[in-house]
């Protein structure tokens, strides 16, 4: 209520001051339009042109309509459907990382917020689990590449140490994908924990008390009260994680030296985009990949937007 009255006051006095608002938002708006919005449209514009480097020769730009999308959705000579390949890779690695990420985060959030257990040393544990999130993904990737390399500690401990031959983790599809997924899990479960904790603390405590008085055990409380009431936050967390997952780039790029090996099984959408822009300078295809990424992200964001906006509207002000 108080904010309604203050808005009314501003409205009342706004005759002379409202215009100042434009000066305050101007730098943001100008920079956003110049550095993000116009590039966004010119990226899309590129998608409809043939524009690439053939050796040293520059081909295009020639308008070719939806040709780039057709190329993207047509199997190549080696039978590989590029866009499907990259999307599947991205999603597989995301799922392998995200499932333990959400499960761990839920467990930790419940443990930390449990009034019954009163866990000690919470500040320490939270500090520790959140730390990986701030570490450079490139450094993590490089470190894990070292740890799992043919001469790295893991091989020394389990394979070469016993006189065996080295296991080439990055030459095997599933071990390479799992390592990438594991890094993502390690980097993000702390962040998810903090978000879920905030969600749990937002639940009316009297519900937990009532359940305990009625004799519910902690498992029942978890599945019948915590989870259902936490659902909006869980959905928010899952979808934002999915949007983040679609942007997966640093870790697989560094760990596979940009090749997405073995055999293009760890190449993500953004890695493909990066190589179209940087390495092959195929701007037409880069534009097409961008549009697809934009549409998918747009749909997901819309779901987040809908799931958080209307319900909280009344509470917010």
């Amino acid at each position: 209520m108080s904010s309604t009255t203050s808005t009314a006051t501003v409205k009342h006095k706004s005759i002379s001051y409202a215009g100042w608002g434009y000066f305050f938002i101007a730098p943001f708006v100008i920079v956003y339009v110049a550095c993000s919005l116009i590039p966004l449209f010119s990226t899309f514009y590129n998608a409809f042109f043939e524009n690439y480097m053939d050796g040293l020769k520059h081909i295009g730009p020639n308008f070719i309509g939806f040709e780039n999308f057709v190329t993207l959705f047509t199997p190549r000579a080696d039978g590989r459907l590029e866009i499907l390949n990259y999307t599947t890779n991205t999603m597989i690695m995301w799922v392998i990382g995200a499932v333990p990420q959400i499960v761990f985060a839920l467990l930790l959030a419940v443990i930390f917020t449990s009034e019954r257990m009163k866990i000690k040393g919470q500040a320490f544990f939270k500090t520790v689990i959140y730390m990986p999130n701030l570490i450079m993904a490139s450094a993590f990737a490089m470190l894990f590449f070292q740890i799992f390399s043919s001469v790295g500690p893991i091989n020394q401990l389990f394979f070469t140490g016993n006189g065996g031959s080295a296991y080439l983790f990055f030459d095997n599809t599933w071990s390479a994908r799992s390592i990438i997924a594991f890094i993502n899990f390690l980097m993000w479960f702390g962040n998810t924990t903090i978000l879920l904790m905030a969600g749990i603390m937002g639940i009316d405590q009297s519900l937990f008390e009532a359940a305990s008085i009625d004799g519910a055990n902690s498992t029942q409380v978890f599945f019948k009260i915590t989870i259902p009431l936490l659902m909006p936050i869980i959905i928010y967390v899952v979808i934002t994680a999915l949007i983040g997952g679609l942007q997966m780039f640093d870790v697989p790029q560094i760990i596979t030296a940009g090749r997405g090996g073995p055999n293009n099984t760890t190449k993500t959408l953004v890695m493909a985009l990066n190589s179209y822009i940087g390495t092959s300078k195929n701007y037409g295809m880069a534009g097409a990949v961008s549009i697809i990424l934009f549409i998918v992200t747009g749909i997901l964001s819309f779901v987040v937007f809908r799931s958080t906006e209307p319900k909280k509207e009344g509470k917010k002000k």
């Binding site: 203050s6 006051t9 501003v10 001051y17 215009g19 100042w20 305050f24 938002i25 730098p27 943001f28 708006v29 920079v31 956003y32 993000s36 966004l40 010119s42 990226t43 590129n46 009034e115 019954r116 257990m117 866990i119 939270k126 520790v128 689990i129 959140y130 730390m131 701030l134 570490i135 450079m136 490139s138 990737a141 470190l143 590449f145 070292q146 001469v151 500690p153 020394q156 962040n191 903090i194 978000l195 969600g199 305990s212 008085i213 902690s218 679609l246 942007q247 560094i254 030296a257 953004v270 990066n274 822009i277 534009g287 961008s290 990424l293 747009g298 997901l300 964001s301 937007f305 917010k316």
Partner: protein, 300 residues
């Protein structure tokens, strides 16, 4: 039940009577074991990194140990002075320059925008607000192609302008600051300042900024870390050795290893040096960082 009633009086949530004490002890033990496991999970890679940074290449090839060796300084000197691929201190300085400028611009201008939207009832303010919220989720990668073309067109490749200027418009920072201003800044202060004859920008810079300090600090940390760790955009706009930031240098190290195994001790040291500044900042400010995560991300 009497027991429970007493507990409630003491303001405790513990409604379980004696029969449940064993289950409480068990769940506590299980929880601590799980927490210990998670702690090891989070720290083991850092431990390996530090240990391996203290070992010479020969020791690293010879086998794995959990104890540190004596070559920390040697590796540090090698990593610091090696100019065969790049000059590491230059990379750290570059990363620092970019991250520092980015975090100042991001927080100052995004907070200013949020302030503008909160304080002034100008025409279209709701449209601006809705728009920023709407574009918050769009990944930077989606507009990367157009952005790179723009940078090439303006001849700004191999400069830091393309990394620093876009920082002025950070939708997520705007959103966080908007929430914070809505809940902490009394508009009466702005009005009182006007009565006292302060102009609008002065009011923002000298009266409101101090009130927003906690939120600004949190956002500065996040912006600094994000920029320090950023790989995608710098990799597209910087191809001159002298301009490289740390993530690019790491990718260069990685591609060298593929062709020939270099000094592994040095490689571990380079990784360590690239994360040390962030770890130090984090250990001092973790309380604010963890508190800041929830404020910005979950509404309500």
């Amino acid at each position: 039940m009497a027991n429970a009633a007493i507990n409630r009086k003491n303001g405790q949530m513990d409604y379980f009577d004696k029969s449940n004490t064993t289950s409480l002890v068990v769940s506590r033990i299980v929880s601590y074991i799980f927490l210990a496991f998670v702690t090891v999970l989070s720290l083991f890679s850092f431990y390996l990194l530090i240990i391996n940074a203290t070992r010479s290449n020969a020791q690293l090839q010879a086998g794995f140990t959990l104890l540190p060796k004596e070559h920390f300084i040697d590796n540090l000197v090698t990593a610091w002075n090696d100019t065969s691929l790049f000059f590491l201190p230059q990379g750290m300085l570059n990363s620092f320059i970019v991250a520092a400028l980015t975090c100042i611009l991001t927080t100052y201008f995004s907070a200013m925008t949020a302030y503008g939207v909160c304080v002034y009832d100008f025409k279209g303010r709701n449209v601006v607000h809705k728009f920023i919220i709407l574009v918050m989720m769009i990944p930077t990668q989606v507009s990367a192609l157009g952005f790179v073309q723009l940078v090439n067109g303006l001849n700004l490749t191999n400069t830091y302008w393309p990394l620093v200027i876009p920082a002025i418009a950070a939708p997520a920072t705007y959103f966080y600051m908007k929430q914070y201003i809505d809940s902490t800044l009394p508009l009466e202060i702005v009005e009182a300042a006007r009565v006292d004859g302060s102009n609008e920008f002065r009011t923002y810079n000298f009266i409101c900024m101090p009130i927003l300090k906690p939120a600004i600090a949190v956002q500065m940390i996040f912006a600094f870390v994000a920029s320090w760790n950023n790989f995608f955009t710098p990799a597209l706009v910087l191809d001159k050795k002298d301009m490289w930031t740390l993530p690019i240098m790491l990718s260069i190290v990685r591609s060298r290893i593929n062709s020939q195994a270099g000094d592994m001790g040095e490689v571990y040291m380079i990784i360590l040096l690239s994360i040390v500044p962030v770890v130090i900042v984090y250990l001092f400010l973790s309380k604010f960082i963890i508190g800041g995560v929830t404020l910005g991300s979950v509404k309500g």
